[in-house]
């Protein structure tokens, strides 16, 4: 293994550096305190800014504050799925055990973000649109994303042989990835009740700077939160696996 890695060109070596669980654990331990600390700061300042500093909207009034949770949650729902798809491709192509672990550890987080986006969107929709839910292209495709996350979680545990479950889950994650561009562009391709993008669009954001910076800060906080919890989940999985191995060894040794 080491001789093979040494003979590879530098590019492929750097990719395989994180395939080693021991090295990953050391890296996670070094990064985690920083991630956790910055998450706390970004979310505390972001929430305070969103709830107290940012102005009310000229049309929506105070209800606009739901946006500071809804939009970052929706961004993370798409981001987490993209991470899962990339990690699944790496796991299928290079048989990369840590990538596989990352994909499986990220899906409950992604499901939680998607649920948060759906729930907060619904709470905003009732007073603003006049309805909790409509079957337009944006809302429906995000609901499909939620079910994809649930399916990914279920299928990776559905097999007697964990290896087969992982492979099936990775393929599902890749197939489901077609939904991500559909969600992003649904508001441009079709008439939807949901408004088009205000920040991630070509040209200047159509959101006033006094509302944009708290939103971006919340986005940073959500992203850091995602990585903190992802690293924690992966770490505990790896430690649990190590514990199982030790127990097996001690049983055999007896």
């Amino acid at each position: 293994m080491t001789s093979q890695a040494a003979s590879n060109p530098p590019g492929s070596r750097s990719l395989h550096r994180f395939a080693n669980p021991g090295r990953f654990l050391r890296l996670a331990d070094a990064v985690l305190p920083w991630c956790a600390g910055l998450t706390a700061i970004a979310l505390a300042v972001g929430l305070a800014a969103a709830l107290f500093v940012a102005p009310a909207d000229y049309q929506q009034g105070e209800s606009v504050r739901i946006m500071y949770v809804h939009v970052p949650a929706a961004w993370m729902a798409l981001f987490a799925y993209t991470c899962i798809a990339v990690a699944s491709a790496a796991a299928l192509i290079w048989r990369h055990p840590v990538a596989d672990l990352a994909a499986r550890s990220a899906s409950p987080l992604g499901a939680a973000f998607t649920f948060l986006a759906l729930a907060t969107g619904s709470l905003w929709g009732k007073p603003m649109w006049g309805t909790w839910w409509v079957w337009d292209a944006r809302l429906t495709s995000v609901l499909v994303l939620f079910f994809l996350y649930l399916g990914h979680m279920a299928i990776s545990n559905a097999f007697e042989d964990p290896g087969r479950g992982r492979k099936a889950a990775a393929i599902l994650a890749l197939v489901g990835f077609v939904n991500v561009p559909i969600i992003k562009f649904s508001v441009d391709w079709w008439n939807t009740l949901h408004q088009p993008a205000s920040v991630t669009r070509i040209g200047v954001p159509t959101i006033h700077p006094s509302m944009l910076w708290p939103l971006l800060l919340m986005g940073v906080g959500f992203t850091l939160f995602f990585f903190t919890v992802l690293l924690l989940r992966m770490k505990s999985e790896l430690l649990a696996a190590r514990l199982r191995n030790l127990r097996m060894l001690s049983v055999e040794g007896r």
């Binding site: 000229y58 192509i93 649109w129 292209a137 508001v187 441009d188 009740l193 006033h208």
Partner: protein, 155 residues
């Protein structure tokens, strides 16, 4: 990279391409069904379902909202710049309903070409700003420009 890894990579790449192509074709085929509402100009140019419920969306024309009959029924004109359709609705209107604002109404066309709605939803655009900024924009005359680009709903 070994040949097996290369093969797996090609397989996944081709699979994703085929999937994306198939999805694109399906979505193009179902274009009409995915669309949440018709615009007033669609009503004039396209075949819209007669005699069954559908949705129409656009801006509420300035100065067109009037109460008729019993006082609980409102009638207003929905426009997208190209076409217009009168909409009649009896019931509670959402908070964001106002002249110049986007709405989506669900209902049927009656014999006189009036769209009788059983539900009216407000459509929010992608502009977010404090009230003072909105007032300043209106005063300086920049408002119309901003509104026109914002109006993705009724292109």
């Amino acid at each position: 990279m070994t040949s097996r890894k290369k093969r797996r990579m090609t397989l996944i790449g081709l699979g994703m391409l085929a999937l994306a192509g198939a999805t694109a074709m399906v979505l193009t085929a179902f274009q009409e069904n995915v669309t949440f509402f018709y615009s007033p100009s669609d009503l004039q140019n396209k075949d819209v379902p007669k005699g069954r419920n559908f949705r129409v969306g656009g801006l509420v024309a300035e100065g067109s909202v009037e109460k008729i009959g019993d006082g609980a029924t409102v009638q207003f004109v929905v426009t997208d710049g190209g076409g217009t359709v009168p909409v009649r609705y009896r019931g509670l209107l959402p908070d964001l309903f106002r002249e110049g604002q986007g709405i989506v109404a669900e209902g049927k066309l009656n014999g006189q070409g009036v769209f009788v709605a059983n539900e009216v939803l407000a459509k929010h655009d992608e502009n977010y700003m404090p009230p003072e900024v909105a007032d300043a924009l209106k005063r300086s005359g920049e408002w119309q420009k901003g509104q026109a680009t914002a109006d993705g709903a009724v292109q």
